[in-house]
């Protein structure tokens, strides 16, 4: 029934178990937070969902289809998009081109049609441009559309990564520490922004975030990982008072 379903997913790197029997049920429209100390295995969960890693054990289902072991591009076509913890834009391309690239997966025209500029291609290209500009407007980057992606300040690069992910037309959006490196004002904007795109695009969102203010502020449900294991799960108010969570955080880092 769940839109995204992870069943007993385990990921081992040599002797290290980065994720251990992890379960996740994302219902359509939910906004769920994934938190945990450094090295807890959060990004690894994203890499498993998006096909970057094939899990050592366990299954991933999207709308009841087993997508375990699918190639990353196939999974994106099925409707899962992500952003990266350490921003991975197409650096020397323009802001606009970054968003256009992310629509390439829905292009029907063949390379020959594209090169010869046949009717179908131009129609599709024009639509892609229109859509890209809409998305850039939605993340307030239309003014810098022709700038090189790496020339943007950090906060704008993070927003561009989200716009690029949205351009793939996802059902599920995975955000890996979108507030990292943002100042408090930018962070508040980001929280509004995430809630807005969730409504506008009918998204289901899984959010990794270290800034507790963000997670506690916008997530309905939070999952806490520690050493690859789920140690707590529930609404923010419950998680904040959970003794295991407090120990895990105080034991490893104090930035919570």
């Amino acid at each position: 029934m769940a839109l995204l379903d992870l069943k007993e997913v385990t990921m081992r790197f040599g002797g290290l178990t980065a994720v251990n029997s992890f379960n996740l049920n994302l219902e359509k429209g939910e906004l769920v937070g994934l938190i945990g100390p450094n090295g807890a295995g959060k990004t690894t969960v994203f890499n498993i969902i998006t096909g970057v890693y094939r899990p050592t054990a366990g299954k991933v289902y999207l709308a009841d289809e087993d997508i375990t072991g699918f190639r990353p591009d196939v999974i994106t076509k099925r409707g899962i998009a992500r952003t990266f913890q350490n921003i991975r834009l197409f650096g020397s391309l323009t802001v606009l081109d970054n968003v256009l690239v992310a629509q390439h997966l829905r292009l029907g025209a063949s390379p020959l049609e594209a090169v010869l500029g046949l009717g179908r291609y131009w129609g599709q290209e024009a639509k892609m441009h229109e859509r890209a500009l809409e998305l850039l407007a939605a993340v307030e980057l239309e003014a810098v559309a022709n700038e090189q992606a790496t020339s943007l300040p950090y906060g704008q690069q993070r927003r561009l990564e989200i716009a690029r992910a949205l351009a793939t037309e996802p059902k599920v959006l995975l955000l890996d520490e979108p507030a990292a490196g943002m100042n408090p004002a930018e962070t508040v904007d980001l929280m509004d922004f995430i809630q807005r795109i969730r409504r506008e695009f009918g998204l289901t969102i899984l959010l990794i975030e270290h800034q507790m203010r963000v997670v506690m502020g916008i997530c309905e449900r939070i999952i806490v990982l520690d050493y690859g294991q789920t140690i707590a799960e529930g609404p923010p108010a419950v998680i904040q008072r959970d003794s295991k969570v407090i120990t895990a955080y105080l034991g490893v880092s104090a930035d919570a």
Binding site: T50, V52, R71, P72, D73, T76, K77, A81, R82, F84, R88, L89, F90, G91, S92, L93, L96, D97, L100, V101, A102, Q103, H104, L105, L107, A109, P111, A114, V115, L116, G117, Y121, Q124, E125, M128, H129, L133, E142, A143, A145, N146, R164, A167, T168
Partner: protein
């Protein structure tokens, strides 16, 4: 408005070029060509190298996959053209040690058919080579493509009944002229401009920038690398075929790493990922290649007597490469392109977002 002007400029430029070519190739309005055959030959080589350089730039510059297999695909094209367009009599003269296998010994096709077959066969080799090696990255890809080019060459040396082995092939009909080479260069430029600026071109550049992110954006990375690689092989095959018919004789020793290096030099000098850069650098390097022939012949400067040193030209080019990469570390053009707007930069206001 600007767009129409630019189109007009382009048309005029193409027309001027066509007139110059016609003049050089056949003479114009009863005027005989003032260009001696040697100059025309260099112009032909320039045009061929523009096409070859662009093909390599597609893979190495635009897609970011460092391939060193160009000479192998050129060899496939060269031998295909030679074996298809030579007359049965000429073939018999060539294959005096081991006879040419049937039915190739009897076949003779028009040049255009031979050139297209050269491209297609090279593309087929590109497909076969690309399937395993394009899964590799960086240095490994470079070494694997180099290895495959060398395998193609060794096969040519040894399959004497098909290729005449190390003896090579002589008296290949000289169909190549400025019309063929200019058409090859022009069509390759056109193809590259259209491809690189299309959605597929953006996908190739995305793969160059960040393969993991490209995959995460739903791009089938292997398919797109293959697309670039096979297209480049096709163009290298056509270029190799034109070159064979221009030079008139080929042998396997021509298709070693130095040939790939020479084309790579043009791509790097011009700028990886710049069509304009490759066109300019291919022209300059090809012309210099000829002009600098004297550095390889014995020189007498007053009392100093220098013996001829073969390979000195490559030393000069390697020095040039070092100097250019030191001062313009991304080649002459970087990844910029020529546009008419650059010429009258006054009009170059900051463009808005109107597509």
């Amino acid at each position: 408005m600007d767009r129409n002007n630019n189109l007009l400029y382009t048309l005029i430029a193409v027309l001027v070029l066509a007139v110059v070519l016609a003049w050089a190739q056949t003479g114009l309005f009863g005027l005989v060509s003032p260009w001696n055959p040697y100059t025309v030959r260099i112009m032909n080589l320039c045009a061929i190298n523009i096409g070859l350089g662009l093909a390599l730039n597609l893979v190495n510059g635009f897609t970011g996959q460092f391939s060193l297999g160009h000479a192998g695909f050129m060899a496939v094209g060269a031998y295909t053209v030679a074996l298809l367009v030579m007359s049965p009599a000429a073939k018999q003269m060539n294959f005096f040690m081991v006879p040419l296998v049937a039915p190739l010994d009897k076949i003779q096709v028009p040049f255009l058919v031979g050139i297209i077959m050269a491209g297609l066969l090279a593309a087929l080799f590109g497909l076969l080579v690309g399937a395993p090696v394009l899964r590799l990255k960086g240095d490994y890809l470079a070494i694997a493509t180099l290895g495959f080019a060398e395998i193609i060459r060794v096969v040519i040396v040894n399959v004497k009944g098909l290729t005449n082995g190390a003896l090579g092939l002589k008296s290949i009909p000289g169909h190549t002229n400025l019309w063929w080479t200019a058409a090859y260069a022009a069509l390759t430029v056109l193809l590259m401009v259209r491809l690189v600026n299309s959605s597929y071109g953006r996908a190739l550049k995305a793969i160059r920038e960040d393969e993991i992110a490209a995959e995460a954006m739903g791009i089938n990375v292997f398919y797109h690398k293959m697309l670039a690689f096979v297209l480049a092989a096709f163009l290298a095959g056509v270029g190799g075929g034109l070159q064979a018919s221009l030079i008139g004789s080929i042998d396997p020793a021509m298709y070693k790493l130095p040939l790939t290096f020479q084309i790579l030099l043009m791509v790097v000098l011009g700028g990886m990922g710049s069509i304009t850069g490759t066109v300019i650098a291919a022209t300059i390097v090809t012309a210099l290649m000829e002009i600098l022939r004297f550095v390889e012949s014995p020189l007498t400067l007053g009392a100093i007597h220098l013996p001829g040193i073969p390979g000195m030209r490559m030393v000069v080019f390697s020095l040039l490469l070092i100097v250019v990469t030191l001062f313009y570390n991304r080649g002459l053009m970087g990844d910029k392109e020529f546009s008419w707007d650059l010429l009258h930069s006054r009009r170059q206001t900051k463009q808005g977002v109107t597509q």
